[in-house]
């Protein structure tokens, strides 16, 4: 066959595959915006739900999601960063370390409902935290740990060896080198990974289902041991458990949720591109 023709066919197939990937994403976003934009108002964002969630706003669910995400980061970021520093800088490269690294990568693929059940068993029941913000945050934190550790390890590995050598050759201790040279230079990569993990945590339903999420709780929490409403679970409830909800409320909730997640991803992209511009070694 004519090579120019085969080339055309190949490009056409590649283009079609790309379109098939993009179209559903665009459709989802377009549908949600079309059906949900009408519901968005200051009142919708800042008031309590009323009349069995059929009216009013989603304020407690927004606040609940932000609390959960904040708690998850508070727990997972230091733990993840320190663990990855240990793995890249201190741990010897042997069979056991490689196994640990592999296990962490695989943890990222564990279904989120498993994390939910684990959180129920460990935090809610065994540690007696009850269904509470703290149980939910810890569960989400554990879920995003592998993401943070994997991203942090990559970021730490990409700090040039010469930086470490210089610091050591000037008489810096290994810890000073890590603290003053390695971590600062890896920070943008670490933060990008964290934001991506967080945006995943913000959207998950299963891990919070058994550990924190309230079906209907039209008030704000008083302590970390309170239950809260959360956007993904609220969306699930609206769509399946409550009859005769105006579809604009459901779609409006979905719109708020994806907006939060997309904004976080955008934030991660901005951090990364700023870093790229600065990085010239």
């Amino acid at each position: 066959m004519n090579p120019r023709l085969t080339q055309r066919i190949a490009f056409a197939i590649l283009l079609i595959c790309t379109l098939i990937v993009i179209v559903p994403v665009l459709l989802i976003v377009a549908m949600i915006i079309k059906n949900g934009a009408g519901a968005i108002s200051w009142e919708f964002l800042t008031t309590m739900p009323r009349a069995g969630m059929k009216e009013g706003g989603i304020f407690p669910a927004i606040v609940g999601t932000l609390y959960l995400v904040f708690g998850a980061v508070l727990f997972a970021l230091p733990l993840g960063v320190f663990a990855s520093v240990y793995l890249t800088e201190y741990a010897r490269d042997n069979y056991f370390t490689r196994l640990v690294k592999l296990a962490i990568v695989n943890l990222a693929g564990v279904p989120s409902v498993i994390y939910g059940l684990f959180g129920l068993g460990l935090f809610v029941t065994f540690l007696h935290f009850g269904t509470s913000i703290i149980s939910g945050s810890l569960t989400l934190g554990i879920m995003i740990l592998p993401v943070i550790i994997t991203a942090s390890r990559e970021a730490l590995d990409s700090v040039p060896r010469s930086f470490r050598e210089v610091s050591l050759s000037l008489g810096g201790s290994k810890w000073q080198t890590i603290k003053r040279v390695v971590i600062p230079n890896a920070l943008p990569g670490i933060l990008t990974g964290t934001v991506l993990g967080v945006s995943r945590a913000a959207g998950e339903t299963a891990p919070i289902l058994f550990t924190v999420a309230a079906f209907y709780l039209p008030r704000l929490p008083n302590s970390p041991f309170d239950q809260v409403m959360a956007l993904p679970y609220h969306l699930y409830v609206l769509s399946t458990q409550v009859p005769n909800v105006k579809s604009s409320i459901t779609y409006g909730t979905a719109l708020v949720l994806i907006t939060i997640v997309l904004l976080m991803n955008l934030f991660a992209i901005i951090i990364r591109s700023r870093f790229r511009r600065r990085k010239r070694w």
């Binding site: 000037l170 810096g172 010239r280």
Partner: protein, 250 residues
Amino acid sequence: MAQIEVKKLNLSYGDFHALIDIDLSIETRMITAMIGPSGCGKSTLLRVFNRMNDLIEGVNITGQVLIEGNDILNHKADLIVLRKEVGMVFQRPNPFPLSIYDNITFGPRVHGTKNKKILDEIVRTSLEDVLLWDELKDKLHRSALRLSLEQQQRLCIARLTAVKPKILLMDEPCSALDPVATQNIEELFNKLKNEYTIVIVTHNMQQAARISQRAGFMLLGELVEFGDTRRIFTAPADKRTEDYITGRFG
């Protein structure tokens, strides 16, 4: 007076015998050049003096290296103290992606200097050491990555003199520079040798002949010949040295 005394030094990585029975003594406030084809072990030898080989797993070192009478190979040797005394300049200029000021104060800060006035003073004297002060005194808070390669390498030397070492180890410090920059840096070495003991590793024989007072020729992990630079280049005692410096191999 000898500042570094090496006695029967052997170094191997796994099965590879990188340094074989090295004996040598390096004198204070002189430039000692180590020459030889790549892979001969000259950089490895240099990295013994500040124990940078420790970063590589599976290195085995025997023998003695005395710096001012202390055996630095002793496992109890304090590497932080050693590396403060024995600094290193690397092949490629490698400033941190920080300002000029922060690059120079990195070392002093690591060693506990916090006083802003003292740090300012160190920045000034270190840049004066490398003849960059007049050029850069108004640009101290610019990124060091915006300097030319020659300026970057000078800055790296200033970053080193800021911790006031006694010995400067130079690992092919001009190999990334153009001839003019190389000449300028060589002039700088000439000035620095009044205050520091300098050991330089170079694959550039002319450079060794131009700047050093003592020279050693290494081949396949052995120190073939060591002595006065002029004698090594005019009347080498060993056939292999003669073959190398006359360009018969290398």
